[in-house]
Symmetry: C2
Subunit: 132 residues, 2 copies
DNA sequence: TTAATTTTTGTTATAATATAACACTATGTA
DNA sequence: TACATAGTGTTATATTATAACAAAAATTAA
C-alpha cells in the first residue's frame, strides 16, 4: 500500500516538477516553480517533499539539500540510496549497483547495530570534467 | 603538511569543544559555547569548521548538519567517512571498518567516474534502543 | 629589513533552509 | 451519521549558512 499511494494535488505538482528535472532541485526553487499552480508557502512544498521521500518517489541529496526523482522502483522499498556527485559541475546520478546495494544492505558493525537504511554519496569528477 | 597543520586560535577553540563531545555538535550550539571565549559571530565558527573539515580533524554528519571529531588519523588523508546513526536516540558513531573502506575507496561505477571521496551514513536502532 | 602577498579575523547584514502552531477541509471508515 | 486520519492554507518564526568589507596577523620574497 505504501508504494501504490494515491498522491494528493500538492504532492503531484511537486513530484511532477522534480521528475521533469534530471538534476536535483532545491526546495525554494521548487516553490518558485509551483507558485503559478497555486502553491504559495514553503511549508506546502516541504510537506509534499517529506511524503514523497517517505514513499520513495524522490530522494534527498543530503550534502546538497536537494531532491531528485527516483527511477528505480526498488528504492521505494529499501530507502537505501547511492549517489554519484561531480564536485565540479554538480552533476548528480543515482547509482544502481545490485552488488554494492546487497553488500551495504546486509552490513553489520561490531556494535550489535543492524541497519535498515543508508545513504551513500560518492564525490569526484565526472567524465566531462576530468577532460576539462 | 596538510595533516600537521598549526591551528589558529579560533580553530583551536572550536576543535576543543567538538573533541570534548562524544556526539555531534551543531554550529549554533558551538557558537553558544564559545561566546565566553570571545567568538561572537556565526561566521567565525563556520570558518573554523570549514578548515577543520578540510584538514580532517572533524567530519560533518550531512543528514544532521552537525560536526563530530575524528579519532582516526587515517581519515585525515582519505576524507572518506562512514557513520552509524541511531534514529531513536540520535547516537552517532564513526565506523572504522578497513574492509568496507577499501571496498568503497576503490569503487568504480560504469560511467567512467572515479571517486576521491565518499560519505556513507547508516541508519537504524542502536543496542539500547532495540531493547527499548 | 622592508614590502608584497596571503590568510585569518571581526563585524554587520542577509540569504537559504526548514519548522511551529492553528484553524480549517477533505477523505476514509465504522 | 459520527469519528478518526491526513492534508491544506496561512502567518510567523527558527535554524543553518554565506556575502561583503575593512583591518590585523602571519608568510614569503626580495
Ligand atoms: Zn532511488
Ligand atoms: Zn562534472
Ligand atoms: Zn574520521
Ligand atoms: Zn539509540
Amino acid at each position: 500500500m505504501q508504494n501504490q499511494q494515491v498522491l494528493t494535488k500538492n504532492q503531484k505538482i511537486v513530484l511532477d516538477i522534480i521528475e521533469k528535472s534530471s538534476q536535483p532541485l532545491k526546495a525554494y526553487s521548487i516553490l518558485f516553480d509551483v507558485k503559478k499552480k497555486g502553491i504559495n508557502a514553503p511549508l506546502q512544498v516541504y510537506r509534499a517533499l517529506d511524503k514523497l521521500v517517505e514513499i520513495g518517489k524522490i530522494h534527498k541529496i543530503e550534502s546538497r539539500n536537494a531532491f531528485i526523482a527516483c527511477k528505480n522502483s526498488k528504492c521505494q522499498i529499501t530507502k537505501a540510496t547511492v549517489f554519484s556527485i561531480c564536485e565540479n559541475c554538480e552533476d548528480v546520478k543515482e547509482i544502481h549497483d545490485h552488488k554494492l546495494s546487497e553488500h551495504l544492505k546486509h552490513y553489520k558493525d561490531n556494535k550489535g547495530m543492524k541497519y535498515s537504511k543508508y545513504n551513500l554519496e560518492f564525490f569526484g569528477l565526472c567524465k566531462k570534467c576530468i577532460n576539462k
